[in-house]
Symmetry: C2
Subunit: 557 residues, 2 copies
C-alpha cells in the first residue's frame, strides 16, 4: 500500500479527543476542520510552572538518494514511547507545498509511521505558509511602493535584498526584471523570487517566542541598503504591524495525530541551508509542556540540522536537549561506501564498512562536541541482512553507542519499542557531561566558522573569499558580529563539495559570502550556490494527483 | 466608533450555534477557529428536495467617491428580515487581501451592519484565496516547466495568456520579464502578475457546481496558444487534478454571522470587470436551502454587477431571482448631479434632481429589461435632509417603485425593518412578467454586446475595433460563440467613459478586445484598460495596522 492509502484507511479521532488526551483545555483549541487544530499560545503562559519534558532530537546521517526516514522515525518513536507507557508528543516541521508537486512529494512520515490527515498536512494545512508568503509579499510591495512614491529613505535599487516568494517550485521566477511598463508601473530593477520556506519571515516565525517578539523581529529584518550604505528595515517601512496581523494565527502551533493517535504538533518549516531548518520554538515548547518526552527533528543531516538545532534554536530559545537519535539506513551507508543505487539491495559488507565512517562521524560530533547521549536508529529495509545489521551495531558499540533496529515504517509504534526503550534509558542515565554548544557566545565570526568546520564537519578550517572578508568586516561594523552563524552548505557531504560522501578529512570550507538575517538573528554563511527556488522535474508529481467527486485525493505521496 | 471597534465589542456566538439555528447538522460543519466554519457541499445533495427560498439581489447605483454601502445593506437587510420574523441568510463575497493594505480597507459591511469576525474575514479568512492563488500559480509553473523541458505541445511564448498572481496590491509586478539567468533558469519572456481575485480560477470556483464540474472547468481553461494557433488548456498540461486537490476545501462555502447573529455565507469574490463579480454559486444555493430569503450582492453598479449576476451567474447555474434592491445614497446622487465631494453635506435639491437619472436608469433596467420587482434602498447619512429624501422617493414612485430609508449602518437590523417589509411584499405580490435575460441563448456575440449596451447601459450600440473583430472571428471559429459575454467596462459610468456620470444617452461602447475565459464559460469584452493588479497609495493602510500581545488587531477598517 502507498502512504496515502495507509493514511486514508486510518480512522482518525476527532482532534478534540486528541487534545483532551494530552490535557489541552478546550479554551486553547481552535479547530480547523475535524482533524486539525491550532493551540493558543496562552497555554504556554498559563502552564509556565509545569516542568518541561525531555527534549529528544532526531537527526540523521548525510543524505543519499537511498533515503533515511527522519520524519518517519520521529513519528514512530513517538508512537513507540507511548507503546511503552510514556507520555510522548511529536514536534515536526510543516511540509512545503512546492515539492509536493515536484519530485519529493509530501513529508508527513511514511508507511505506518505517519501523521494524518496527510493530504491536508501536505497541501494548505492551516494556512501558515500562505500567511508567511502574504507577509513576505506585503513587505516587498511596501518596499517598492516606497520607492515609487518618492523614495524618501534613499533606498538603492541595486542593494535591495528582500525578495518576493511563492510556495511553488517555479524556476521561471528565479531571476526577473520587474517594474517595467512606464512611469506609473513601478521602478525597473533586477529581482527574483524564493520559495516561501526560504523567506526570513519563516525563520522569524519559527524563532519568535510570542507576538511582541515576532513583531520586533519582523521590524529588524533588513530589506535593502541606502545609497550611503545604511540598512533599511521593515520597521523603517512601518510594515511590522500589518505583517504581524497577517501572522498572528500562523504563530499558533498546529495539533494533529499520528496513525496511532499520538499527539503531534506540526509548525513551521524553514530551509535547512539558508535558515535553521527546525519547527517552531513555540511548538517545541508546547510539546515539552504537554509531554514527558517531546520528540522533534531537524533538517538534513546532523552536521547541518543538529548543529543549527543546538547552536541556533537552543541557544536563542533556551531549550536544552536530553538525547539524540541518529537515523541511518544500511542502504544509505552502502551508498556512502560507493555502491551505485541499483545494487543497494545486495549484501555488501565491505561497502558498508567503507560507508560507516559517515555515521560514526555524526555520532562522534553529538557525543564529543555537543556532549549529548545518543542512539543510532537503523531504519529497517527488507533487504537489510543480519550480517549488515550486526556490523553497524558492532561499530557503533565501539564508540559506546547502541544501534537499534527501528521497524516503525512497517509496524508503527510496535516497531519502535526498542528505540523508545533506549531513548528512555539515555534520558534516565546520570549525565557525566553538560550539553555544550559548538562555540560559546561572544566569540568572533571567524572563530564560530572555524569551530563549526573543525568540530562538526571534521574539516580543518573555514576559508573566506575576499568578498566574504569584506562582508564580515561590514557586518561586524553594523553590530551583527555577536550573532550565531547559520551555514548554507550542501547537504550531500560533510564538506562543501557535494561529490565527497563518507567522512572526508583535512578539507577546508570556502565561505563565499556572508549575509545577516537580522530578524531571525543569525549570520548566513554561503559556501556555494544555494538554491532557494526549486524547479519542477520533467514529469511533475502534480500530473498524477487527482480528486474524486467526494474530495478524496489520490496520487499524493 | 470605527467599524473594527464595533466589531470587537460584539459578543459572537459559537459558529456551531449559528449553524444549528439555521438547521445545519454538525456532520456538515468544519470549524475554522471558533467563529468560522466551512459547510460541506454534501448538504446541497442531501437537501435537494427542500424547496429553495426567495433570492434577493442587492445592487447599486453607479459608484462615486461618496460611497453607496452595498455590503452594509445586504447585511442589514438580512438582519432586518430576521427582525420581522423571516428566516433570512446572507450570501456575500469574500474580501480581497490586497486592498485591505491599500486605500479601500476591508469589505465586511459597516457600522452596525457587519459580518464578524471582521479581522479574519478581511485577512486570510479560511484560506480560500490562498488556495486559488496556489492553484493559479501551480498551473503557471507547470506551463513554464513544460516549455523548459522541451515544449512538446509547441507553445508559442509570445501567446501565453496565463499570468501568475498574488493577493496583494503590487504594481511592481504588473509587467515583468522572467525566466532570466541562463539555460537552466526557464525561458526569458514578457510576463505579468494579476491580483488573485482576477484569476480565472476564482471565476471558475465561483461558478462550479461540484468537484467534477470544478475539475472539468479548470481543465478547459486556456493558458496559451501554439505556434499554429491552437489553444493549449490546463488539461493539456495535466494540471486540473492537482489544481482541484488544492481547491477541494476552497469550494466549500464559509459560514459566519452578522453582529446580530444572522447566518452569512461568505464565499468567493471574482473581479466585477474581467469576471462576473458575484459570490459562489454553491454559497447562493446553500443560502437558498437554508433560508426562506437568501440575500446576495453583486459587484459595482447594476449595469455591471446585476447584469452579470443575471446573464452569467443565473444563466449558467439555473438560479432565479425574486426581487432586487438598488442601493443609493443622497450624497452619491448629488455627486452624479455635479456637486464636488467637499460640498456633499449641504442640501442641494437641484443637484439631486440632476443626479437622479442614474438611479432611475438602473431602476428601469431591472424592471424593463430583466422584468424583476425592485425597491430602492436609500442608505441613510446624517446629512440627508427630509426634502432630499422626499424628492428621491417621489421620483422613484413615478416609476412605480418604492424608495425606502435604510438605517442599518446606524441601527443594524432595526434600521432595516422597512426595507425588509418592502422586500417581502415584492416577493409575495403576484408576478405579471417572467424574469428575462438581457439576451437569449443562441445569439451571436455581436447581438449580445449590442443587447447589453442598448438594454442595460442605455447606449446605442457596441463598436468593435478591427482587432476585436478579428478576435471575434477567431473565438467563433474555436467554438466559443455561444458563450455569454462578460463586459470589462469602467464602473464609474454607464458608458465606457469614466468621466461621464449620471445617465448618458446616445453613446457607443468601443470593444477593444475579446478574450475567452473557457473554464468560467464566458467571453470577456474589454472596453478600455482594465487594471487587474492594483497599486498601493502614498500612505498605505498597512502602516496603521497593528496587533497587541493578545493578538487583537487595530487600524483595520
Amino acid at each position: 500500500m502507498t502512504d496515502i492509502q495507509i493514511a486514508q484507511q486510518a480512522a482518525p479521532l476527532p482532534i478534540g479527543d486528541i487534545a483532551a488526551a494530552c490535557g489541552i483545555d478546550p479554551q486553547y483549541l481552535e479547530q480547523y476542520g475535524r482533524y486539525k487544530a491550532k493551540i493558543d499560545y496562552r497555554l504556554l503562559r498559563d502552564r509556565a510552572d509545569r516542568p518541561d519534558g525531555k527534549l529528544i532530537l532526531v537527526t540523521a546521517i548525510t543524505p543519499t538518494p537511498a533515503g533515511e526516514g527522519k520524519t518517519t522515525t520521529t513519528v514512530g518513536l513517538t508512537d513507540g514511547l507511548r507503546k511503552i507507557g510514556k507520555n510522548a508528543v511529536a514536534a515536526l516541521r510543516e511540509p512545503s507545498l512546492g515539492p509536493v508537486f515536484g519530485v519529493k512529494g509530501g513529508a508527513a512520515g511514511g508507511g505506518y509511521a505517519q501523521v494524518i490527515p496527510m493530504e491536508d498536512i501536505n497541501l494548505h494545512f492551516t494556512g501558515d505558509f500562505h500567511a508567511i508568503g502574504a507577509a513576505n509579499n506585503l513587505l516587498a510591495a511596501l518596499l517598492d511602493n516606497h520607492i515609487q512614491q518618492g523614495n524618501a529613505l534613499g533606498i538603492d535599487c541595486k542593494q535591495i535584498v528582500w525578495k518576493r516568494c511563492v510556495d511553488m517550485n517555479d524556476r521561471q521566477l528565479r531571476h526577473v526584471i520587474d517594474g517595467l511598463g512606464g512611469r506609473m508601473q513601478g521602478v525597473p530593477r533586477e529581482d527574483g523570487f524564493d520559495i516561501t520556506v526560504a523567506s526570513e519571515v519563516m525563520a522569524v516565525l519559527c524563532l519568535a517566542s510570542d507576538i511582541p517578539d515576532l513583531k520586533a523581529r519582523l521590524g529588524r529584518m533588513i530589506v535593502a541598503y541606502t545609497f550611503d550604505g545604511r540598512p533599511v528595515t521593515a520597521h523603517d517601512l512601518k510594515a511590522e504591524g500589518a505583517m504581524t496581523a497577517l501572522l498572528k494565527d500562523a504563530l499558533k502551533p498546529n495539533l494533529v495525530q499520528t496513525l496511532e493517535h499520538s499527539p503531534a504538533l506540526i509548525h513551521g518549516g524553514p530551509f535547512a541551508n539558508i535558515a535553521h531548518g527546525c519547527n517552531s520554538v513555540t511548538a517545541t515548547r508546547m510539546a515539552l509542556k504537554l509531554g514527558d518526552y517531546a520528540v522533534t527533528e531537524a533538517g538534513f543531516a546532523a552536521d547541518l540540522g543538529a548543529e543549527k538545532f543546538f547552536d541556533i534554536k537552543c541557544r536563542l530559545s533556551g531549550l536544552r536537549p536530553s538525547a539524540v537519535v541518529i537515523v541511518a539506513t544500511v542502504r544509505a551507508l552502502k551508498y556512502h561506501g560507493g555502491v551505485p543505487k541499483a545494487e543497494l539491495n545486495r549484501e555488501n559488507l565491505s561497502a558498508l564498512e567503507k560507508g560507516l565512517p559517515n555515521l560514526l562521524h555524526h555520532v562522534g560530533t553529538i557525543r564529543n562536541t555537543f556532549h549529548l547521549p545518543c542512539v543510532v536508529a537503523i531504519n529497517a529495509f527488507p533487504t537489510d541482512t543480519a550480517e549488515e545489521l550486526r556490523l553497524v551495531q558492532e561499530r557503533c558499540r565501539e564508540l559506546g553507542v547502541n544501534a537499534v533496529l527501528s521497524e516503525v515504517w512497517a509496524k508503527g509504534g510496535e516497531g519502535g519499542r526498542d528505540l523508545a526503550r533506549e531513548v528512555v534509558r539515555l534520558c534516565d542515565q546520570p549525565r557525566l557531561e553538560e550539553f555544550t554548544f559548538a562555540y560559546p557566545d561572544n566569540t568572533s565570526l571567524i572563530y564560530k566558522l572555524n569551530s563549526i568546520v573543525g568540530r562538526v564537519y571534521g574539516g580543518s578550517q573555514a576559508v573566506l573569499t575576499p568578498a566574504a572578508q569584506k562582508q564580515l568586516k561590514r557586518l561586524t561594523e553594523l553590530g551583527f558580529g555577536d550573532l550565531p552563524v547559520c551555514m548554507a552548505k550542501t547537504q550531500y557531504s560533510l564538506s562543501d563539495d557535494p561529490a565527497l560522501p563518507g567522512a572526508p578529512r583535512d578539507f577546508t570550507v570556502t565561505v563565499r559570502s556572508l549575509k545577516v538575517s537580522a530578524g531571525a538573528g543569525f549570520i548566513v554563511a554561503y559556501t556555494g550556490d544555494i538554491m532557494t527556488m526549486p524547479g519542477l522535474p520533467r514529469v511533475p508529481a502534480a500530473e498524477n494527483i487527482d480528486v474524486d467527486e467526494n474530495g478524496v485525493i489520490t496520487g499524493l505521496f
